[in-house]
Amino acid sequence: MEVEEVYSSSELDRKEGKAINELIARSQEPIPDPDQWLDEELKRNILLTSVDAMLDWARRSSLWPVFCFPACCAFEFMTTAASRFDISRFGMEIVRASPRQADLMITAGTLTWKMAPQVKRIYDQMAEPKWVIAMGACAISGGIFRSSYSVVPGYNRIIPVDVYVPGCPPRPEALLYGIRMLHQKIAKMSIAAKGK
């Protein structure tokens, strides 16, 4: 990896501004949700069903989220992670700052275009298999800030989203329901099919 030596802060600003403008130009259409392998008739190989079941059970039973908490939905995530609505019972209390050690991104909060390249980079740096839960109205579609000059209208403009949890902010029970939906989605994954 070549490392560019950037010396002046105006150069840094210009690079950042260029990257953001390019990202805006690239993200005019939402990325389609990864659900193709859910609908098709899965011809399950009898021999592999138990392997599938074991793998999917292992993958869904300890989804480790990565930090992606730009705004107020983060408080509801913290509440979900605290003792009353425990996410530790799902094996998810390990919220990793490093994307290499995480396999779930719960996007809790409004995303601005200025922060968007960083979030996309963190998503890209996560190791597969990885999933995304869009939490809250701002993550689904930009929420009440949709027509703003600086807000990304939904995380699915920059990253593919698996589960959408509506609410402003969603109650912890709603977020846990969304996590359960993601577990069901992962349980349907088959390694013999063309999916992830």
Binding site: V3, E5, Q118, R121, I191
Partner: protein, 158 residues
């Protein structure tokens, strides 16, 4: 044989098991995906640079999907260094203040001293006067070094 070693043997078995499952097993299980990717890259390289050699590649059956359990899809962004989402500026090995080194040295020396003092302190009553004097001589020798470092202004942070 393990019974002779007692709990330490059990600990060793658990440690080896842990290292194998978390480090080696995923690495070895990723070989099918890796090989598929390398083969794809190799054929693409041949097609672009030496197209006439393509006919010599046998149609190798690639690993079936169910063997590619551990994915391996490196991309330039994915393999880049993590800097909280930003593009990295500069290298990871930076020059740091040399005073950290002094503190680490003094810490190591005194830490070894403390490790020896713990069992001594537990058995102090049973060791009697001889044990006390012996340990005090030991402490005295180490403390001389510590006072030397102190007087040489190693511990100051300017």
């Amino acid at each position: 044989m393990l019974a002779d070693y007692g709990y330490i043997g059990l600990f060793l078995v658990v440690a080896i098991f842990f290292a194998v499952t978390t480090l080696l097993l995923p690495f070895f299980l990723s070989f099918p995906s890796r090989l598929v990717l390398y083969f794809r890259r190799f054929t693409r390289y041949l097609e672009t640079h030496y197209p006439f050699l393509v006919r010599f590649i046998p149609p190798l059956p690639k690993f079936p999907r169910f063997m590619q359990v551990v994915p391996y899809n490196p991309t330039p962004v994915k393999s880049s260094t993590f800097e909280c989402g930003m593009e990295t500026i500069g290298t990871a090995w930076v020059r740091f203040n040399f005073r950290y080194y002094f503190y680490a040295l003094v810490f190591i020396a005194l830490d070894i001293l403390v490790v020896f003092l713990y069992p001594w302190a537990v058995e102090l009553r049973g060791l009697g006067l001889f044990g006390l004097i012996a340990a005090l001589v030991f402490i005295f020798i180490i403390v001389i070094g510590y006072i030397y470092a102190w007087r040489k202004k190693v511990l100051e942070w300017k």
